[in-house]
Subunit: 488 residues, 2 copies
């Protein structure tokens, strides 16, 4: 007889009832070929003695196996493993040998993603961290949001949207956003031009996967927002990097490429470009709009932090101009709230939005629509608009403080231009101070910072990072600069 007392492990503290544990253990032994079809199992009395449990427990376990067709009862022979089961050669006698199923890698081959895991995932473990430009969740109206969320959940209206709803997102929030985007960006759209997504990154992924086929060409900045670049590469596209200067992307270079062969997509951040924070100049905007018309050039305009401007008023997006339906405009509410509140949107012609909504459903059925209804309410009440005003004022002060301190303390180590808006300063370190070494030394002082690898393209290494000021208060900004001075 098999040593059931060692093959079956019982844990009386576990949430799963003991009889179920025994049944499951026996199923494993049968399935792994340790007990063969037709083999007799010990009677309930005998098994109870072996396993040191009450006989009723064994009866229940056998009943379970019987119901699930693993065993049968043969008169005079007692309980046997079902003879209808296929016979397989035993893989092992040790129960522990089940472990490897998930220990190693897959048995089959698959397409590995081209991007790498992010080092920034660990930033939360540090006392202090420099991010790319996150909002300060400490000033976000989360209490208000949670309160309204709860009260919406208890309102009779929840019946209308708790379980069902458009893949494009609730009409209420789309309507509020139409109003907001009209007021703030001069967009001329209706709710059917809007798809809500679980963050702007999802909007980039969806738009790109509709536009790009493997082998496609994407024009992108040198440097450019790395998650967008990685997304295009993941979808099989080839990147062609367009130089960036103090006036934004070199539109002449785009024109030259278009003349040779129309690219499949232009990805552009005309307003506070990521990472350089440069804004595309007026003349280049006009030239670009001409090119878009002339070549019917598909464009993703990523306008992730339009709402944060400190100097002159923000410049209207390309999407507000006559672009012949070629500009897919992407924005985010995450920057206006907190990084953990992922709400993004895509603006596009109606048919494109309808198609994108179908794809969105296959990727991620939808967002939390109670949350989206709550956000619609906060827009309607002006709470988000008030919060934005408050944030802009505070981030303006933080930008000024960071720039003053860097100017004074980090002279000779870094160069930068104070950004007109946004949440970060694009900071280049001098060649003789390679960022990986700086970042490693900063870590020993409890400061996480990027090592610049996100903006290092083959031979071209910008040796630069974005220093996000929005999420740091005065004390933290001073601390960050002090550490950079120490390790530089």
């Amino acid at each position: 007889m098999l040593p059931f007392q060692t093959l079956l492990t019982i844990n009386k503290e576990a949430a799963m009832p003991v009889y179920q544990q025994i049944a499951n253990g026996l199923v494993r032994l049968i399935r792994d070929g340790v007990i063969k079809p037709g083999a007799a199992l010990p009677g309930s009395r005998e098994m109870a003695l072996l396993l040191q449990v009450h006989r009723k427990t064994i009866v229940a376990a056998y009943q379970e196996l019987f119901t699930q067709d693993w065993i049968e009862t043969i008169p005079r022979k007692g309980v046997i493993v079902s003879q209808r089961l296929p016979e397989i050669k035993p893989r092992t006698f040790k129960a522990a040998a089940r472990l490897p199923a998930y220990a190693g890698s897959t048995g089959f081959a698959y397409q590995k993603p081209r991007a790498m895991p992010s080092a920034a995932a660990r930033a939360g473990e540090f006392r202090l961290a420099i991010n790319d430009g996150f909002p300060d969740y400490r000033i976000a109206p989360i209490d208000l949001l949670v309160r309204e969320y709860r009260s919406l959940f208890h309102s009779p209206a929840i019946k209308r949207y708790a379980m069902y709803g458009s893949s494009a997102g609730p009409l209420s929030l789309r309507n509020e956003l139409v109003q907001f985007l009209t007021d703030s960006r001069g967009l001329n759209i209706g709710p059917n031009n809007l798809l809500l997504t679980h963050g702007a990154q999802m909007a980039i992924y969806i738009a790109a996967s509709m536009i790009l086929k493997p082998g496609a060409t994407v024009l992108t900045g040198d440097p450019n927002y790395f998650l967008a670049d990685m997304t295009f590469q993941q979808l099989g596209a080839k990147l062609v990097r367009i130089p960036m200067d103090g006036h934004g992307m070199d539109v002449e270079a785009i024109a030259r490429i278009c003349k040779r062969k129309k690219p499949d997509l232009l990805y552009i951040i005309p307003h506070h470009h990521h990472p350089t924070t440069v804004t595309l100049s007026a003349d280049r905007r006009m030239q670009l709009l001409e090119l878009i018309h002339q070549y019917r050039l598909p464009v993703i305009e990523d306008d992730y932090d339009y709402d944060f401007h400190y100097s002159s008023g923000p410049i209207l997006p390309l999407a507000s101009a006559d672009h012949g339906g070629n500009v897919i405009y992407i924005g985010s509410l995450t920057k206006s709230l907190a990084t953990f509140m992922r709400v993004g949107y895509m603006v596009a012609p109606e048919q494109f939005i309808q198609d994108a909504s179908v794809l969105r459903r296959l990727i991620d059925i939808r967002s939390d629509n109670v949350l989206e209804e709550t956000l619609a309410l906060l827009f309607r009440n002006g709470d988000i608009q008030r919060h934005l005003k408050k944030s802009v004022k505070l981030y303006h002060e933080r930008r000024d403080l960071l720039c003053q301190l860097m100017e004074k303390e980090l002279n000779g180590l870094v160069t930068f231009r104070p950004p007109a808006g946004g949440m970060a300063v694009w900071t280049r370190f001098h060649k003789k101070h390679p960022l990986p070494a700086i970042a490693a030394r900063a870590a020993t002082h409890g400061l996480f910072m990027a090592d610049g690898s996100n903006y290092s393209y083959g031979s071209h290494n910008h040796n630069a990072l974005r220093i996000g000021f929005a999420s740091l208060n005065e004390k933290e900004i001073r601390e960050v600069v002090a550490i950079l001075k120490k390790v530089g």
Copy 2:
């Protein structure tokens, strides 16, 4: 001089300051070629008179345009449109002509998704709706969750995870899930075998897009969960439908196909199959595990409602057996909470999870990690487990009631087998009662129901739908059956 008073519309009630509206309006006119580079603008006094605003407003608007490089000041000539701007031929003189940018379709061609928008999106507009098997949000511990969310947001611990974290999801929730999946499903895994996703659909999409190339072959049920099928098709795969009977998928048919040519993926729901609710029998499970080993067959095991079982204990998933690292196991917490709380997970070998996490970040940076931390807390306190127990008891009663009523009232109209678990009854309508007609008549009684098109494959039409009982209370179940009787 241009008729600025009609070309520039000013809305004094708008959130945007009037000077900004004027500046933006002028930018549009310049950008659209209505005002040419070098053209003179009226002086501030004259323009103020034209537009009926204070002169200071015009000065501010011009200042704005000057800062943004749209205009320049020439001595003696006054304000002119910047001569550095490219000259473009005017597209139109009417401001309203900007409308079409987003009105029609895109200027460029793109790949349309193969799936269709869902009719169920509109279900919320009906007095009553039959869904595929959703949980009842009315009994979900949302109040508790919201309370704990808020208190986590105010705890010092939030600093560790509010802004950063692994793309695989917080370790805390992964650890709790490891414990839960070990206790309930006998999985033998660690936290590095788990990727948290924004709902199970995202896990299906990510796993499938790693495994499938265009032209790949996917074995799937006849019938099968339609969103999974659509996802595989969207990724360019060809579906090969495997017959389903009262014991689950026909594993012999799978064996025959494997013998000819190894398929690229098997998608299987062995437990309460969607839509048929059938559970794969013991002998077929063993045969299937043999095939998986023999061919290193990649498998997605979708186990979306394992936790809801009413008759015997649930059968262990394939993922708990020795499968050589070939089974990607996907589950959901959404079914245990509410449809608007989208939390799914993928269990796979460590390397696969690491790669899937990278892809997850490109598709959707991450979920709300404060929510995920809150769920970890609810698991730790046993709140989710208690809620599951309560739900199972209630849904069990609802299943019984629905089956009794259908047996009694819908005889001759439908056939069904009471499911051993899950949240829905797979209900076939007799051929002489085509579902589209039934659904149309039900709508006139305020009841939304699917028209069966999700399970109609070319020549093979199941003329069936899932009647979800979990989200309906006693009164609603009686009402649904009464309407079906009336329209049948």
